[in-house]
């Protein structure tokens, strides 16, 4: 066990995956000499050479499209998309090709491709550098979608994603890159929790607070603050957004009877919407109150100095908790912001 940041843990996970399987190759813009703009691939080109750590031309469709060819040839490409907002040029290759390949070849062709994407806001960045595009990918059959929140999960789940024979869209919340914790980068993948599993980040009794990625830290802070007022919040870190681990989630909601789900991304047709729909179907008889979504607004990501008015923060999450507990006076607010 070593203490390291989530960024370093991802780096360690990549190194381990490349050592374990020489068919693992990395592709992306600025990932070689520079080690990536977030230094996640730092030192890997020097260690594994230019054939296995490829600085690619500046073309995201090119990266994903050629990754498909490499996968046909038996490689396990790990593609880095520099920022969330730059994945869309590759969207066609991901949605029309990567996601469907296994089904359309009757299972003959596998696409063990991992697409790493720094995700989300809260870092005061420029346009197209703070987006939360999870829902686009979760909506696409054939893709697994993961969003990690801490160093150990980052390391282990990245290794699992690379080892998976399915394509995995792997989100790395930028605002968590510097979070530090103890990491064992050699965990046996078969003994670790499965790639599709959620995690109870903090047990509680009164309210189930579901979130993932960049908001896990905020949710834990909210739970701590609520404890002072006698409210016990169970925080569920979803980790896998497709598939969602509904066994874990429904068990929690059946116990607490109240659910709040928080996400950075916009509300409409989102992960939060889907999870709330499923929980309403499966836990209706257990629910004491209508589920509450606390989300970004349905707007393009705002400029840096306004992002605090877009992103759910501790206050908005606690407001959602108050609503689900029936503590909000009639304010005229129809849905939780």
């Amino acid at each position: 066990m070593t203490t390291m940041t989530m960024g370093k843990a991802l780096n360690a996970g990549l190194r381990r995956a490349m050592t374990d399987d020489d068919r693992v190759v990395l592709m992306g813009e600025d990932i070689g000499t520079l080690g990536g703009v977030y230094r996640i691939t730092d030192g890997l080109q020097a260690e594994f050479g230019e054939r296995r750590v490829m600085d690619t031309p500046l073309a995201e469709a090119g990266i994903l499209g050629t990754a498909i060819g490499l996968a046909y040839r038996g490689y396990r490409p790990v593609c880095e998309i520099q920022f969330d907002g730059f994945v869309y040029p590759a969207f066609d290759q991901i949605v029309s090709q990567v996601a469907k390949m296994h089904a359309r070849t009757h299972g003959l062709v596998r696409m063990p491709i991992t697409v790493r994407i720094p995700v989300g806001g809260g870092i005061g960045a420029a346009e197209h550098h703070s987006e939360s595009p999870e829902a686009y990918f979760a909506h696409t059959a054939g893709l697994r979608v993961v969003s990690v929140s801490n160093p150990q999960d980052a390391c282990t789940m990245l290794r699992q994603a690379i080892a998976s024979d399915d394509p995995v869209i792997f989100f790395e919340p930028k605002r968590r890159y510097h979070v530090k914790a103890e990491v064992d980068d050699a965990v046996a993948l078969t003994e670790a929790p499965a790639l599709g599993s959620a995690r109870i980040a903090r047990p509680g009794e009164h309210v189930t607070l579901i979130t993932w990625g960049g908001l896990v830290g905020v949710a834990l802070d909210a739970a701590l603050a609520a404890e002072d007022e006698g409210t016990s919040i169970e925080v569920v870190d979803l980790r896998s957004l497709s598939p969602v681990d509904y066994d874990t989630v429904t068990a929690s909601v059946r116990r607490t009877g109240r659910v709040v789900i928080a996400q950075e991304g916009p509300r409409e047709a989102s992960i939060a919407s889907e999870v709330v729909a499923v929980l309403t179907e499966r836990c209706f008889a257990f629910l004491e109150a209508a589920p509450v979504r606390v989300t970004g607004h349905d707007i393009p990501y705002p400029p840096a100095r306004l992002e605090k008015h877009h992103l759910p923060d501790l206050d908005r999450i606690l407001y959602g908790v108050d609503r689900v507990l029936g503590r909000v006076r009639e304010t005229g607010v129809e849905v939780s912001p």
Binding site: E29, D30, G32, T33, L34, G35, V37, D55, T56, P57, L58, A59, E60, A61, G62, G85, F86, Y88, P89, G124, A125, A126, E127, H128, H129, R267, E268, H297, D298, I299, P300, P302, P303, A304, R305, L306, H309, H310, D315, R316, Y319, T331, G332, V333, E334, V335, P337
Partner: protein
């Protein structure tokens, strides 16, 4: 008018009218295109380059002091951008990347408006129609298609009404953008429709850390030939040469000769942005080499050789730069944070009931803290 099917064969040597010491090289082809550039006009270009370099330096400083979230410097690319910007007519229209502060300045954008997006108070700094220049594009290469479509619109308008001005659309992008599908598709469309668009590629040798050799095996200016687009490779640190090749491409496009492509060979003297550390990937010797090719020094030496550079010009330009910098700094610091509910502004052109509800809910929620 060159035949689009038989584009100019580019050479490894870029067009150059001023050598590194500012001495003028004669050119039968390009001299007539800049015959109007007298001492006064050259002094104007000198002032433009000094001012934009100063504005750029101020942008760097303001970022370092926490007043801006980010700044992408243009240092070293002044001649390419001013040469292009000053060759345009007010009815032309530019679609640029995030680095073209010099072009925006020439389009009449107020220096303080250049800072708005980088301060993080707005997603665009100016009115595109007033400036004849779109909001800077961050998605690499996307704007090449926008410029091409705009040019197709000019073409249509001119067919509908022959009195329509013969405007040209210009796309500015970098060497890295040459690899994106959008730029290549733009060249296909431009050639197919013979649209009046000029692709202006500043080859500053890097796409963040990636050297241009990672994007291409041939000079970038050799590629357009494959699309049937005439191209020129120009010394991007020579403002006279840039002016000449841009004017040539603009005139051809105005005259119905279709698209053109210009590769301005230059160098990004600074980091990619203030978030970048070029010492990780760049040899300092390279920087030294390009310092000797400084575009402002070169024009200054040329002015001196013409006896057109004296202390008077130097001092007046320096004073003007000081003034612009002071105004810029004051304007930046005075820029207020936008109102919270601005986040809901302008998402749609027409009313949207659900978003209106979200806005109202958020306003009531915020109000709840006050009461």
């Amino acid at each position: 008018m060159p035949d689009a099917a038989k584009p100019d064969a580019t050479t490894q040597d870029p067009v150059r009218l001023l050598d590194e010491h500012g001495a003028r090289t004669a050119s039968d082809r390009y001299d007539p295109l800049i015959a109007d550039l007298d001492d006064h006009a050259l002094a104007g270009l000198y002032e433009d380059m000094v001012l934009i370099r100063r504005i750029d330096a101020e942008g760097m400083a303001l970022q370092r002091q926490g007043e801006l979230a980010l700044w992408p410097p243009l240092l070293g690319q002044e001649a390419a951008q001013i040469g292009l910007g000053r060759a345009l007519r007010s009815d032309d229209f530019v679609f640029s990347s995030y680095r073209e502060h010099g072009v925006a300045y020439c389009r009449g954008v107020a220096p303080v408006d250049l800072l708005r997006v980088w301060r993080g108070v707005s997603v665009s700094g100016w009115d595109p129609f007033e400036a004849g220049m779109a909001s800077p594009q961050v998605i690499i290469g996307a704007q090449a298609l926008h410029a091409t479509g705009y040019a197709m619109g000019i073409q249509n308008d001119r067919e509908r009404d022959p009195a329509t001005p013969d405007s040209v659309a210009v796309a500015c992008f970098g060497d890295g953008a040459m690899s994106e599908g959008d730029v290549n598709e733009a060249m296909v469309f431009a050639a197919t429709y013979q649209a009046p668009v000029v692709f202006f590629c500043q080859n500053n040798q890097y796409a963040i850390s990636e050297p241009v050799s990672l994007q291409t095996r041939v000079p970038l200016a050799d590629r357009p030939a494959g699309f049937g687009i005439p191209s020129a490779r120009v010394d991007g640190n020579d403002v006279l040469a840039v002016t000449a090749v841009v004017r040539e491409a603009l005139e051809r496009a105005r005259g119905g000769g279709g698209p053109g492509f210009i590769e301005a060979v230059t160098y990004r003297m600074g980091p990619h942005t203030t978030a970048d550390d070029p010492t990780r990937y760049r040899d300092p010797a390279e920087l030294e080499l390009w310092s000797a090719r400084d575009p402002i020094q070169r024009l200054r030496a040329h002015l001196e050789s013409r006896g057109a550079f004296g202390p008077e010009l130097e001092e007046s330009v320096a004073a003007r730069a000081d003034q612009v910098a002071a105004e810029l700094r004051a304007g930046c610091i005075a820029m207020p944070d936008p109102d919270a509910l601005e986040v809901f502004a302008d998402v749609y052109a027409e009313p949207h009931a659900e978003l209106d509800r979200q806005r109202a809910d958020y306003a009531r929620y915020l109000g709840g803290f006050v009461s």
